[in-house]
Amino acid sequence: MKETTLNGEQPPNGDASPRGYLEAKGFWSWAYTLDHKRIGVMYLYTTLFFFLLGGVFALLIRIKLMFPGQYIFTNQTYNVLFTMHGALMIFLFIIPAIPSGLGNFFIPMHIGARDVAFPRLNLLSYWVFVAGIVVILFSLIRPMDTGWTFYTPYSARTAADVTTLSFGVFLIGMSSILTGLNFLVTIHKLRAPGMTWHRMPLFIWSMYATSIIQVLATPVVGITFLLLAMERVLGVGFFDPAKGGDPILFQHFFWFYSHPVVYVMILPAMGIISEIVPAFSRKPIFGYNAIAYSSVAIAVFGFFVWGHHMFVTGMSSTAAIIFSLLTYSVAIPTAIKVFNWIATMYKGSITFESPMLYALTFIFLFVVGGLTGMFLGALGADIHVHDTYFIVAHFHYTMVGGTVMGLLAGLHYWFPKMTGRMLSEKMARPAWLLMFIGFNVTFFTQFILGFEGMPRRYAEYPAQYQALNIVSTVGSWILAAGILIMFANFVHGLFRGPPAPPNPWKALSLEWQTGSPPPTENYPEIPTVTDWPYGYAGKQT
């Protein structure tokens, strides 16, 4: 892979400035920028802000749940808090963070391009995203209490401002479609000479699969919210049985988007893991084709399983059986990835810098989240644990243990490239340890609570569940402490971190062969690619 560096030269810093793409200063240099790197950074700042805000809501929820009865908040406030926690975390953090943030920054760099295919569309999608945020914040005047899923018939009747919030999500969805479209065209059209499909980094394959879902699934949720708004504003009876509608139809539409979208959350994280594991094992990735195709397979299979969210809602048992069987099919490509990562590490020279710690955490926690998903795909078991804390624990293991850990792995891995400064490993390790312990204390207890029958969503619960709830709340404090130290490390690294070399991890993909931070044009000359990016230890498998 030496040949893929720029004309075999030592990686130069491109145009003379050591600050690279960060050279221009001032608000307008960011607000009007067409540089995919700056747009990616703006997305990261925005989404991480909502990660912290959603986290504050989570801490408040956990504090209330230390006591079975009403405590601190009214129950109505509790409903608002858990709705906002879900809605902000899902729509403003987990869905956009990796694709729009890290994806924007690294897709063009990975394929050896100067920018995305449509830079202006890229900027538009960011500002549409911001417009969506503003609309969502407006809805807080009469805050939502429906949960983030907007289920009818309650969402069609409540006095809370469902229409405004769903319009905000509509805009966020539009931004998501534009980004996905941009990435698809970029990956098809802008690959550097020699960058064949099978020489692409696996992060690109996973982002390609993600973009397919974004473009094809997001319109459905947009239309669903329009139907809901028509029902609320004009009184059309799409979902109201009294007018000939069907409340379960809403759930069909909603999950037709919202199940595939869990792969918009997890696939990019899997792509990051596929980059980090070989780089820190100093071994070529095992099963490149299997990992690449399984990303696309997950994206496709993911469209066939939405009914598994509705097993106990009154859906026909014929449909339940079909969707249960199809749900198991998604486990296959997911397991393929996990086995290939493990095979990559086998007999590798593994080092445990912070990106690798987070990547390993991803694999471990995501396997727990994925396997408990299989419990839920089974019709009998699902009836026992549906709408209990078992579900809450399951999706936090996949979304936090999976996506967030993947994001943090990526942030630690690429921080030197994005900022030109190194993070402190001395701070990163204790932060990781606290997060790992805190996360498991918080959420493993919820598996037990759910299995014992504690229902989710309610503000109050029977006193028999209090002990484990207190454990879970203490866990959330440990988790929060870890996150605070990590952010302190980010801020410290941003201003005081020692300058980063172009390639601190000795990784082989293209972005490491240019300056840290990269110059505005990414590469002084478009590189010519002659090999895949996983030729560690010089051999291919």
């Binding site: 069909h252 469209f303 009914g307 859906m315 449909a319």
Partner: protein, 91 residues
């Protein structure tokens, strides 16, 4: 995309066909066929939509890539209808 000269004759023929099919839809709605009313109405509507896409929207003269973009959403439409019917038909 190659240049083609189907000309006004084709457009007028397609327009006439659409008018006739609209008349068919209206006429059939007066005949009582039970479930078949819906089937016929959807069939006629599909033919009309195809005519519009093929001629007025030039799909007939487009590359395979454009065909792919046109057909993929139809697959997803079939998927969501089939999946939802597997619920409502068997409740």
């Amino acid at each position: 995309m190659k240049e083609h000269k189907s000309g006004n004759v084709t457009y007028i023929a397609v327009w006439a066909a659409l008018v006739v099919l609209t008349a068919v839809t209206v006429a059939v709605s007066y005949v009582h066929l039970g479930m078949m009313n819906v089937v016929v109405a959807l069939l006629v509507a599909s033919v009309k939509a195809s005519l519009v896409a093929l001629f007025f929207m030039h799909l007939r003269y487009e590359s395979r890539l454009v065909w792919g973009f046109a057909l993929t959403p139809i697959f997803f439409l079939i998927l969501i209808i089939a999946g939802t019917l597997s619920d409502t038909l068997f409740r």
